[in-house]
């Protein structure tokens, strides 16, 4: 799947936040979403590059991928399980 064509149902902006806030917010936002909806997370903490893919691959959710933007932050895509 081409990451740039994914259409997210919801976007969560965690730019400027550092560990553990991005992951905490991601977990909380996903909880409020419906199964098979897609969440896009924006973040610029280097720690998130391990945390978000590592965590969201577990517990029934699916990590769809991530991509760096020219503005220095990363976009992550997670599908709620």
């Amino acid at each position: 799947m081409d990451i740039n064509t994914i259409k997210a149902d919801q976007t969560l902006d965690t730019r400027g936040l550092a560990c553990p806030m991005p992951l905490l917010k991601t977990k909380k936002t996903l909880k409020g979403m419906q199964s098979s909806q897609i969440l896009e997370v924006l973040g610029d903490d280097p720690g998130s590059k391990n945390d978000i893919p590592g965590w969201s691959g577990k517990g029934g959710n699916e990590f769809l991928g991530m991509t760096d933007t020219d503005q220095g932050y990363t976009r992550y895509f997670i599908k709620k399980g």
Binding site: G16, L17, A18, M21
Partner: protein
């Protein structure tokens, strides 16, 4: 093979290794082994590794300069823990430069406030426990001081309380994301991504030069501490090694990864120090002064809340500053000042006797029992965390 293609293949090999060492994150278990070994080397080289004492030295200096404290503290460049702390910062800065990850990282106002409050709480907790997550927990446990275990319990409780607060905050204080100006244009017209590794190389040269400079003025021990700190900072940044996770993740995501790593690291550290102490290579009572159990337990509890608010403990505050996080600069300032003040207050009020005293595990359990008990205890901790990962029994939301 033609000379041209040989050079090309050496270059290619160097490039691949550079990426493996400086761009890809190291696995945390590898960092766990390195940190235990480096901590043992610091013990053999000089005295058990700690961090809060360095912060306290910095706080004392500020308070002395303001005229609040009358007695002149040790100069920071002659204070052992101040130097190893500075080494951790420099090591992380070097690593961030080599991996082109250094950036001045701003945060929303609420995060700065949490950074300061977290730092203040950690400073108070560390003063009560006779050390931070390193000196009061990691090294204390490694040195077979029972206070380390009491602080571990406190840290777990504090992490739980801190996480409850963060969840409350998410409901009640929705933070506005930092509005980013688009395009991180070249600062001073320099392409920093290209320049960073050269600055990093300069930093290594400076650290090695500093070691020899210390040696020439007969302070080789201090130069060595700077260098060991540098290695710890490098390892911690490369693996993003964070003690906080071992206490937070079981409640937050259920992940057991860092519990396993810290448990393994402590088994290496504890058994290494058992060899050193049982054989009397170093005085067995070295590093055994943590106030068991009240000081360590209560200090751990306060410290645990603080490290969750700050998003970093004593060690990860240093390496995250090396990566450019301004929030943790606030944390460091709060930590240094509150630790110096609280330590002074405990002294003035004569509280130390009531907080407890240092207890050496082999003195209570004998060497023969301490060693298996120590190993079983940390293996059990790891197994409970693994069970929790599957059952999510302790996950609070």
């Amino acid at each position: 093979m033609a000379a041209g293609s040989l050079i090309a293949s050496v270059k290619e090999e160097a490039r691949k290794n550079y990426i493996a060492v400086f761009e890809q994150d190291w696995p945390s278990w590898l960092a766990g082994i390195f940190i235990a070994l480096l901590a043992l080397m610091i013990f053999l080289w000089d005295a058990p590794w700690g961090i809060a004492g360095g912060y306290k030295n910095w706080g004392n200096w500020v308070l002395y300069s303001l005229g609040i404290f009358k007695d002149k503290p040790f100069a920071p460049w002659l204070h052992p823990m101040s130097l190893s702390n500075f080494g951790i910062f420099v090591g992380a800065f070097f690593s961030a430069m080599m991996s082109r990850q250094f950036k001045i990282r701003q945060a929303p106002p609420l995060e700065y406030a949490k950074g300061i409050v977290g730092g203040i709480l950690m400073g108070i907790g560390a003063a009560f426990a006779g050390g931070c997550n390193v000196g009061g927990f990691f090294t204390a446990t490694g040195m077979l001081s029972l206070g380390g275990i009491a602080m571990m319990v406190g840290l777990g409780g504090g992490a739980w309380i801190g996480l409850k607060y963060l969840l409350w905050e998410l409901e009640h204080l929705p933070a506005k994301p930092l509005s980013k100006k688009d395009g991180s244009g070249p600062f001073l017209g320099i392409n920093w991504d290209r320049v960073q590794p050269y600055i990093g190389t300069g930093v290594v040269v400076a650290v090695v030069a500093a070691f020899y400079a210390y040696a020439t003025i007969d302070k080789t021990v201090l130069g060595g501490l700077l260098f060991f700190g540098f290695l710890i900072g490098l390892v911690m940044h490369r693996a993003r090694f964070c003690f906080v996770r071992a206490f937070r993740c079981p409640f937050m995501t259920g992940e057991a990864e860092m519990v396993k790593v810290v448990a393994m690291s402590l088994i290496i550290y504890g058994m290494g120090s058992a060899i050193i102490k049982w054989a009397w290579i170093k005085d067995p009572m070295m590093g055994v002064y943590h106030p068991f159990f009240l000081g360590s337990l209560v200090g751990g509890l306060i410290f645990g809340v603080g490290m969750i608010l700050a998003g970093g403990c004593a060690s990860s505050t240093l390496w995250r500053i090396g990566e450019g996080h301004l929030k943790l600069v606030m944390t460091m300032i709060g930590f240094a000042l509150s630790n110096a003040l609280t330590a002074r207050a405990i002294e003035a009020l004569n509280l130390s006797d009531r907080l407890g005293k240092g207890i050496f595990m082999p003195e209570v359990f004998t060497w023969e029992v301490t060693i298996p008990l120590f190993i079983i205890f940390f293996v059990m901790w790891a197994f409970i965390a693994i069970w929790n990962e599957a059952s999510e029994k302790f996950v609070i939301f």
